[in-house]
């Protein structure tokens, strides 16, 4: 009897103790209401549940807040947006700025004219004071997430009137405005009237957030698994009003870690947008739900992000300092096998150092086809080859058509957009000639280096997913070709392995672009030799030149980019072409494909989503802040 009494007491204590902290009510929280399904858009947030759910002050380093909870998509705003796709009326948006960036002649001053009639969600007007406050506050302490970046670039900020901001820069910088331009996120503007009232703004949780976006926070899960946003009644007083009233009255962002659950929830009608699935899950979804689709209406479904998965060589390692060796390894790879192994054929291949997405296919890929086809690779033995195969995309489409039938495009342009143009031919004889010219020899099936050691190394890769498959398959192909390569998973590849140079080769990425703009500054500036850390040192290589490659010709291109007007599209494309041709010659990285994200949406409740084939106005990968433009185009489905 006493045993049961004891057990009952323990259980009661556990229950009471465990529920007490759950039951603290916030008297300031808005009333909970039912959310009519035809007024609610439900989105899967790829983040894990927020570690610090009630913290919305995303200007402080760390913080533990969720970002893709709707916070930066719906509530935050800044001066410009650059869409990774076509945009509603071009990819470049003037958001809080009324016009494009205006620099002085030597790029030491940027003048911004702000959009008038924009109000914070608490009814206070947005003015130049908010921009100045944001910059001054961030610069006051490096703990603010933009503090160091602003301090390095900005000398001072002036506000000659309520709607004009003048940034005085410390040195010429034609791309300073990119700090306030959203690719995925950007330097969000702080509400001066809210933060200046706080005793310690750095310790302020900013709950509920006061924003410039068209939505306000309705409620959130105390454990960070969901956030519900409600359309502002005065949505016309936001920058997004230019594109119309956002359709959904409520938008819910839900964390759903298990991929199977995402699929089930969408099939059951409880999810309208999925951030990402595995290839197999996407194929299952397409089979089971007529109203669900990806970026492409059929195979390969996925949206190609402006990120370029690649093989990265640590060029400070003596093994990879000879470009003939790097080229030889590239020619040992069968691109079709790589595509099938990593993406089940749904990869969008790229032979050049550029993601095949957004405007890049028109700006770079199409114009470069002739050059690539005619490109001659010197094998070092007096002969040359033309290594480029422009038919790879077509061949992959033909290979998957028996399984996916009419879902696979037949139109050449559609095939190029879906599967890529071409890639390098697998040519083991040419690879052998290159290695032999570099002093390598072959013993049986094993290549030996000039010093007599076996040509063997480790390639670091992701722990799971398509990148893991990619790394594993390329290791296997090289091993079959006589180079003994071991794939090794690296859980902290971007945090430690790549920055510390603790790798010989890796499958990751060091190229990310705007997507909707041909300018390469987003990643390219960090590749300048001034940022390459000495070989063997314990210094961290800053993002993104993980390959630690430097070349005077590359420095020259970067220095010219720095002083070229961001809006001079033609000049930037010409510089981009120079860069791409240099990368083909030297092959410090082996470009492979765009990072295809199997995002999906369902049209049972909402219509008006972007489509790759007819209306690619926004990125459906919904953790990007620019996905917010989708909401202005959504309307309830007819049924």
């Amino acid at each position: 009897m006493r045993t049961w009494t004891t057990l009952a007491a323990v259980a009661a204590m556990a229950l009471v103790g465990s529920t007490s902290s759950l039951l603290a009510q916030d008297p300031a929280a808005p009333p909970i209401t039912d959310f009519p399904r035809n007024e609610t858009l439900i989105i899967q947030n790829p983040e894990q549940p927020a570690q610090n759910p009630g913290w919305f002050n995303l200007w402080v380093l760390g913080g533990g807040h969720g970002t893709s909870t709707g916070l930066h998509q719906l509530a935050m705003d800044t001066l410009w947006f650059i869409d990774p796709d076509a945009g509603l009326d071009g990819a470049n948006y003037n958001e809080l700025a009324a016009s494009a960036p205006q620099y002085n002649a030597d790029f030491t001053q940027l003048t911004v004219h702000l959009r008038e009639g924009v109000y914070w969600s608490d009814g206070v007007e947005f003015t130049s004071d908010d921009v100045k406050y944001t910059v001054d506050t961030q610069m006051s302490d490096p703990i603010w997430s933009w503090g160091a970046r602003f301090s390095n670039a900005i000398a001072s900020v002036d506000t000659p009137d309520r709607y004009t901001v003048v940034f005085n820069l410390k040195s010429p910088n034609a791309r300073f405005h990119s700090m306030f331009s959203v690719r995925w996120g950007g330097a969000w503007i702080m509400p001066k009237h809210v933060f200046e009232a706080q005793a310690d703004p750095k310790a302020f949780n900013f709950n509920p957030p006061v924003g410039l976006g068209p939505y306000v926070l309705n409620s959130f899960d105390p454990n960070g698994a969901w956030y519900i946003w409600e359309r502002r009644e005065d949505w016309e007083r936001t920058a997004m009003a230019e594109w119309g009233e956002p359709g959904p009255k409520y938008i819910v962002y839900r964390s759903i870690p298990n991929i199977d659950n995402r699929l089930i929830e969408m099939v059951n009608g409880n999810l309208d947008m999925i951030h990402d699935l595995t290839p197999e899950a996407m194929f299952s979804l397409a089979n089971q739900s007529e109203t669900s689709r990806g970026w492409f209406p059929g195979f390969p479904y996925a949206h190609p992000d402006p990120t370029l998965p690649m093989v990265i060589f640590n060029t400070q390692n003596p093994m990879f300092q000879d470009k003939r060796v790097r080229w030889a390894l590239a020619l040992m790879i069968d691109p079709m096998q790589l595509s099938m192994a990593s993406y089940r054929g749904a990869a969008t291949l790229s032979a050049i150092a550029m993601p095949p997405t957004g405007t890049h296919t028109d700006d770079y890929f199409e114009p470069m086809q002739e050059w690539l086809i005619d490109y001659q690779l010197d094998l070092g033995n007096g002969s040359t080859i033309q290594p480029y195969d422009p038919t790879v995309g077509q061949r992959i489409a033909d290979a998957v058509r028996p399984q996916f039938g009419d879902a696979v495009p037949t139109d050449e342009t559609a095939i190029h957009k879906s599967f890529g143009y071409g890639w390098w031919k697998k040519d083991l004889d040419a690879a052998a000639a290159l290695l032999e010219s570099a002093g390598f020899t072959k013993q049986g099936n094993q290549w030996m280096m000039p010093d007599g050691q076996p040509f063997a190394f480790t390639i670091k890769t992701f722990t799971e997913g398509v990148m893991n498959r990619f790394g594993t398959d390329v290791a296997q192909q090289w091993t079959q070709a006589g180079v003994n390569v071991t794939a090794e998973v690296a859980p902290r590849i971007f945090a430690d392995d790549l920055p510390l140079g603790q790798f010989e080769a890796a499958t990751a990425w060091s190229i990310e672009t705007w997507g909707g703009n041909p300018d390469l500054s987003y990643f390219l500036d960090s590749w300048h030799s001034e940022f390459v850390v000495p070989a063997g040192s314990d210094q961290r290589q800053p993002a993104r030149n993980w390959q630690r490659w430097s070349d005077p010709r590359l420095d020259d291109i970067i220095e010219r980019v720095r002083v070229t007007d961001f809006n001079d599209t033609q000049a930037n494309i010409e510089l981009g072409m120079e860069f791409l041709k240099l990368m083909v010659d030297e092959m410090p990285i082996i470009p492979v494909m765009s990072f295809n994200v199997f995002s999906a949406y369902d049209t049972r409740v909402w219509t008006g989503f972007p489509t790759a084939e007819t209306n690619p106005y926004a990125n459906i990968v919904n953790n990007w802040s620019n996905s917010k433009y989708i909401f202005t185009q959504l309307r309830p489905a007819a049924n």
């Binding site: 902290s21 500036d525 961290r540």
Partner: protein, 334 residues
């Protein structure tokens, strides 16, 4: 009584020593990790923006200073115990400046609630059925239960959890498969909220019970199978003791003592959470929190969870030690 008080004091001293060495060990082990929380934060920021290397270096310096990571380890250890003795575990490094204990307390109730209830249900069902199976060894129904228990036990937990998701979330969608409670219910002392929690915990709890009941069943069945052969049981049966009283008071009660100890150990172990359950069902809890803290190098949060777990297990054992003399008259405290 004097002997019992002495016994209790000795056990308390042992408890204090276990907590001290356990928590100190957790401190040093967590600080030996090569994972640097500063680099975790910088890696996250760098992956989403383009930042000049000079700016990154400044941010690195500021974060190291803010987190106190540039102090010698022994000084960090002393600071840690100084704060711990006043109940302050310090701010979470990856959710700075929010206190680590605050973040733990957000997740703890869900873990304690789900796991304690699941374990108790599993324990009760497993031991009752196992006890009956051990006594009524010819019962076909109980034999069938035994076959099922043995058959299910080796199935990996994830498979069982996933099957439940598919059956009750997809094929026959009658139960929620994600979350802790409905989005249109406000947390608070209300029947609506409690019912919502219960509703959403059905599948996670069922998955834990299905996988866990076999172990208790098999253990109890083995214990009872031994006890029924004891002389005193045979004597009681021959003496005409009522069957129900024989099973409950003479057999199962004696077999429960080791099972009770095992229960206290199991309850003490719930503070590490169950990561797979939380991932499959998107259920809030300590498991995911702990994994993220370890992977991100958030030593403060790791220590917060570890300290709670160490104290909970030590206290659970302490309570069982104190209760043992009352539960089993054969135990002497001198």
């Amino acid at each position: 009584m004097k002997e019992y008080l002495l016994f209790a004091l000795q056990r308390f001293a042992l408890l204090a020593a276990v907590v001290f060495f356990g928590v100190s060990g957790a401190f040093f082990i967590s600080h030996l990790s090569p994972i640097n929380p500063v680099e975790s934060i910088l890696g996250e920021i760098s992956s989403r923006a383009t930042i000049s290397p000079v700016a990154v270096e400044e941010m690195r310096r500021s974060l190291n200073e803010m987190f106190g990571l540039n102090m010698p380890l022994w000084q960090q250890f002393l600071n840690f115990w100084g704060r711990l003795l006043v109940g302050d575990l310090g701010p979470s490094l990856l959710a700075f400046p929010t206190p680590a204990m605050y973040i733990v307390m957000l997740a703890l109730p869900w873990t304690v609630g789900l796991l304690s209830v699941s374990i108790i249900i599993t324990w009760i069902v497993g031991n009752i059925v196992g006890g009956l199976a051990g006594f009524f060894q010819n019962s076909r129904l109980l034999k069938l239960f035994g076959v099922l228990a043995i058959g299910i036990q080796p199935i990996p937990y994830y498979i069982v959890a996933f099957l439940l998701v598919v059956i009750f979330g997809f094929l026959w969608p009658v139960l929620p498969i994600s979350g802790g409670f409905a989005m249109n219910v406000r947390p608070g002392w209300s029947i609506e909220f409690v019912l919502s929690i219960l509703h959403y915990s059905i599948l996670p709890a069922a998955s834990l019970v299905i996988v866990g009941v076999g172990t208790w069943f098999l253990g109890m069945r083995a214990l009872v199978s031994n006890i029924v052969t004891e002389d005193y049981v045979t004597y009681a049966e021959l003496a005409g003791v009522r069957r129900g009283r024989l099973v409950g008071s003479y057999v199962i009660r004696n077999a429960l003592v080791p099972q009770l100890t095992a229960l206290s150990m199991a309850l003490g172990g719930i503070f590490s959470g169950t990561i797979i359950t939380e991932q499959v069902f998107a259920y809030p809890g300590l498991g995911s929190l702990l994994v993220r803290a370890v992977n991100g190098g958030d030593t403060t949060l790791v220590l917060a969870v570890s300290s709670i777990a160490i104290v909970a297990v030590a206290v659970a054992i302490f309570i069982v030690d104190l209760l043992h003399p009352f539960l089993d008259p054969r135990v002497r405290v001198g």
